[in-house]
């Protein structure tokens, strides 16, 4: 569904992504892991067109997404840190997004309900805690029924209950055959929802394998240990 | 002794008899399209001195009518003398001629001769009253004339360029002429005087002429009162003259890159009083002029109220009102030998603590910017810009460029009022 070909991106002298090629298929839940600054978020932003690649290509269903924008209707994005116009109320943000995405008739407002956002509709974005902003981000990412979900550290600021709600939502969407990319550091969470793991180190693709293959490969029961082992092996 | 008296009586008697004869002979000749006499020029030719020629309404296609004896030529029901663009219409070569009530039209434009609708040549006591002149090269042309009256005429030209148009009222080597109540327009110069002295120019309206509304040179001792000079191509220009009085005139809307309300060049010992200068590019421009009294005039909405070149000396500017001019006074040098006092300046921001209506702080009517514009004309593009305001403010606080002597030490706080409409006697 998404194919990344020889993607390179640098910020000034810093090479953030170096010749990354990878292919994600429908129905996959891919966890993108890697140390801080390894290029996970940059890759997401490249897919979304928020960061522009230096070279390489990104194909969605066989078509390049570079310099395009309509393809984003198929993607729901939940940023690592949601930034919103501070003087807008939650209600206004949500209604504005609905207004911009008028063409989507079947809205998925499940998370709005589960997170009880309606009760906070009149709060301004600037006054919200990081966790509440994350809830708004999550609700918006799923709202327009996209075929692809890109979730950047989705549970990072969430309380355990809210994190559970999100995880079950992810699993529910997975069953619908959607492609879901999650960047995360929490291995247990990854094990719970993901099938595949993509590992980036210093902007290079380290490996991209299914969880079972990783465990088998490292001969470890626990994913965290297996990954740690693989990382050490390579050095 | 008795013999002498006898002789005198005889002379008086003879003179009386002659006079009786002339009255008896002074006939009236009628001219009209159905009369026995149909031609004005024939009537004039046949007339005797002192005759009265009455011309009734109608169009008379005649030109080069010459009057060389004292007759009265009087139009009744507005007869028209049509020159058909062939030479002049009426030439007066005799004194004591009276012309009234005609319309003169269609005088030939020539580059060789100054053809005029009415010419008075080497005569005196000629009166030209209430005529109309239309589409003439020159209108009323007086040369070497004395003690004549040109009154109530309307001269309307059709001039397109300065070279193909003559002057409406043109005086050359004349003396003691009265030019009064005329309306002139559409000519090169409205009123033109060259070597015309001791004359009165009063209540005339001169507008929309191609060049000057009034133009004179070498014409000393003239009085200009209650005239209006409006929208002339270059306003009014007067040169090389002394002893003139200009009072209660209105100079307005003389607007253009080279237009002046009143341009004075080498004028001396003259008085300019109670005039109004309104919306002229330059109100008064003075070059090489000295000993002028410019007082009680209103300068309103002009670009420059006064442009006073540094070669002017001993001119005094007193009790004038300067209101809403872009520049009050401009000069080109930093020496100033003229005097300003007691004027009202609307740009004056001083105070009057003792309430004597005289500002306690002297006013400097020349701004730094006006000096700059005088030197670099294209910097006028920055008029009303922030930087110019800033420059002027700084110069007001620390004067360094503007002439130190150019100052009104006793500016009036209030607008000066005077009787502007006072009719001359």
């Amino acid at each position: 569904m998404i194919e990344i070909k020889n993607l390179c991106k640098s910020y000034g002298k810093l090479k953030v992504l170096q010749d990354v090629s990878v292919k994600f298929e429908r129905g996959m839940v891919v966890s993108v892991i890697g140390p801080n600054g390894s290029g996970k978020t940059t890759m997401s932003k490249c897919i979304l067109g928020m960061a522009l690649p230096d070279s390489g290509d990104i194909l969605l269903n066989g078509k390049s997404v570079l310099k395009q924008h309509d393809y984003r209707s198929q993607i729901g994005y939940m940023p690592q840190i949601g930034r919103y116009p501070e003087n807008m109320k939650i209600r206004q943000v949500i209604s504005m997004m609905k207004d911009i995405r008028k063409e989507v008739k079947q809205l998925d407002e499940e998370l709005v309900g589960l997170y009880g956002l309606e009760q906070m509709y009149d709060k301004r974005m600037g006054t919200l805690s990081g966790g509440t902003k994350q809830k708004v981000s999550a609700a918006l990412a799923f709202m327009f029924n996209p075929g692809i979900l890109i979730l950047d550290e989705p549970t990072a600021g969430l309380d355990p209950i809210s994190a559970e709600i999100l995880k079950s939502k992810i699993l529910k969407e997975k069953k619908k055959g959607k492609l879901i990319l999650i960047t995360s550091h929490i291995m247990s969470e990854i094990e719970e929802v993901a099938d595949e793991v993509m590992c980036l180190v210093d902007g290079n693709l380290k490996f991209f394998e299914s969880i079972s293959a990783i465990k088998e490969h490292a001969n470890e029961e626990r994913l965290s240990k297996a990954i740690a082992k693989i990382m050490n092996e390579e050095d | 002794m008795t013999d002498h008296i006898k002789h005198s009586t005889t002379y008086i008697g003879i003179a009386f008899l002659l006079l009786l004869c002339s009255i008896a002979q002074a006939g009236t000749i009628k001219v009209c399209p159905t009369c026995p006499e149909k031609s004005v020029s024939k009537a004039v030719a046949n007339a005797k001195a002192g005759d009265k020629i009455l011309v009734d309404g109608g169009v008379y296609k005649e030109n080069t009518i010459e009057i060389n004896k004292p007759v009265s030529l009087i139009g009744i029901n507005n007869p028209v003398l049509d020159g058909q663009y062939k030479g002049e219409i009426l030439t007066i070569r005799s004194s004591h001629v009276f012309v009234k009530g005609f319309t003169f039209r269609n005088v030939e434009v020539s580059y060789l001769s100054d053809f005029a609708a009415i010419r008075v040549a080497e005569a005196s006591h000629v009166k030209i009253i209430n005529n109309k002149v239309q589409d003439a090269f020159f209108g009323i042309y007086l040369q070497r004339a004395d003690s004549c009256v040109v009154q109530g005429n309307r001269v309307k030209g059709n001039g397109k360029t300065e070279t193909s148009a003559g002057n409406a009222i043109h005086l050359w080597y004349c003396n003691a002429i009265t030019v009064k109540d005329n309306k002139v327009s559409g000519h090169r110069d409205g009123i033109y005087f060259e070597f015309a002295t001791n004359s009165h120019i009063e209540n005339n309206l001169s507008q929309n002429n191609l060049r000057y509304g009034l133009h004179f040179m070498f014409s000393d001792g003239n009085v200009y009162k209650h005239n209006t000079f409006r929208q002339n191509g270059a306003g009014v220009a007067v040169m090389y003259t002394k002893n003139i009085l200009m009072e209660n005139n209105l100079f307005e809307n003389n607007w253009g890159a080279a237009a002046y309300g009143l341009l004075l060049k080498d004028i001396s010992r003259s008085v300019i009083r109670n005039n109004t200068f309104k919306r002229n590019t330059t109100g008064i421009y003075l070059e090489g002029s000295s000993k002028l009294d410019v007082e009680q005039n209103d300068f309103l909405n002009n670009g420059w109220a006064i442009r006073l070149l540094a070669n002017c000396t001993e001119d005094t500017f007193r009790l004038n009102n300067f209101i809403a001019n872009s520049f009050d006074v401009a000069t080109n040098g930093n020496v100033m030998l003229n005097q300003f006092s007691g004027n009202h300046w609307d740009k004056y921001h001083g105070y009057d603590i003792n309430k004597d209506q005289v500002g306690d702080v002297p006013y400097r009517p020349v701004s730094l910017y006006s000096m700059l514009v005088e030197r670099v004309p294209s910097s006028v593009m920055f008029m009303r810009s922030f930087i110019v305001n800033l420059m002027d403010r700084i110069e007001k606080v620390i004067p360094s460029v503007i002439p130190e002597q150019l100052v009104d030490a006793s500016p009036s706080m209030k607008k000066i009022s005077y009787d502007r409409d006072k009719k001359s006697v």
Partner: protein, 255 residues
């Protein structure tokens, strides 16, 4: 695009700065008309203030707004919306709201105290200058990432166009006064939108006669009707150049 403009406008109206600007302009204009008996003269005073205040408010407000809208633009960029559209919507919303504030603030007093052609030109020039300086503000904002730096650049631009530039030109004219600089000076005028705006209004006040040969040149070069059209054409270039440049930079920028 309409939708986005609508939402940016909501956002601008919520901040009330534009409302304050309108009130300020109203107070200023009414004040000047009441202080000065002659409406023509107050119009000139108004021109002075307008040419100083409108660029300043426009450039500072637009720069601040751009930085404050970063989150908003970020939010939209993950949506199926063209970046260029986001940028142009931001521009139009800011320029239109500031212009509306200006037109109401100056237009209402002008209508009440006697509208004439000059007043109309003053209004048109003000709107033109607003569009130019919002475009310059956006350019300043896209080339600097830091908000404080961006506002600094914006203020510098304002000082440059309102003061320094004219100073330099007067300096040049003065020191080369022996040379025929009329045509060159006209070109120099065109290089400053504030000067250009002032000249347009001044020419329609018939001050051109004061400008002697320069004014005559200006009038003969442009004629009355076409001259105004050309001046506004140059103002339009002053809008398009910074706007399109900043749009290009913005669409290549990593968020």
């Amino acid at each position: 695009m309409k939708t986005i403009i609508k939402h940016v406008l909501y956002d601008i109206l919520r901040s009330r700065i534009v409302l304050a600007y309108t009130v300020f302009m109203l107070v200023l204009a009414f004040g000047l008309f009441n202080l000065e008996g002659d409406p023509a003269k107050s119009l000139l005073s108004l021109l002075n203030v307008v040419l100083l205040v409108v660029p300043l408010i426009s450039i500072v407000f637009a720069t601040t707004h751009f930085y404050n809208s970063y989150e908003f633009m970020e939010l939209l960029m993950a949506q199926p919306v063209n970046r260029k559209k986001i940028f142009l919507s931001e521009y139009l919303a800011v320029a239109l709201s500031l212009s509306a504030a200006y037109v109401v603030g100056i237009g209402v007093p002008v209508l009440l105290y006697g509208a004439n052609a000059t007043a109309l030109f003053l209004l048109a020039v003000g709107v033109g200058i607003t569009f130019v300086f919002v475009a310059l503000a956006f350019l300043a904002s896209v080339v600097t990432r830091d908000k404080a730096k961006g506002i600094g650049v914006a203020l510098l631009l304002w000082v440059y166009f309102a003061l320094i530039y004219d100073g330099i030109v007067i300096f040049i004219l003065y020191f080369f006064s022996e040379y025929p600089l009329e045509k060159a000076s006209l070109a120099m005028i065109a290089l400053n939108p504030i000067d250009l705006g002032r000249i347009v209004v001044m020419l329609n006040l018939d001050v051109s006669a004061l400008m002697g040969y320069t004014g005559a040149l200006y009038k003969s070069m442009f004629g009355s009707g076409t001259g105004v059209a050309i001046s506004f054409g140059i103002l339009l270039l002053w809008v398009l150049f910074p706007l399109l440049t900043s749009k290009r930079i913005f669409s290549k920028k990593d968020i």
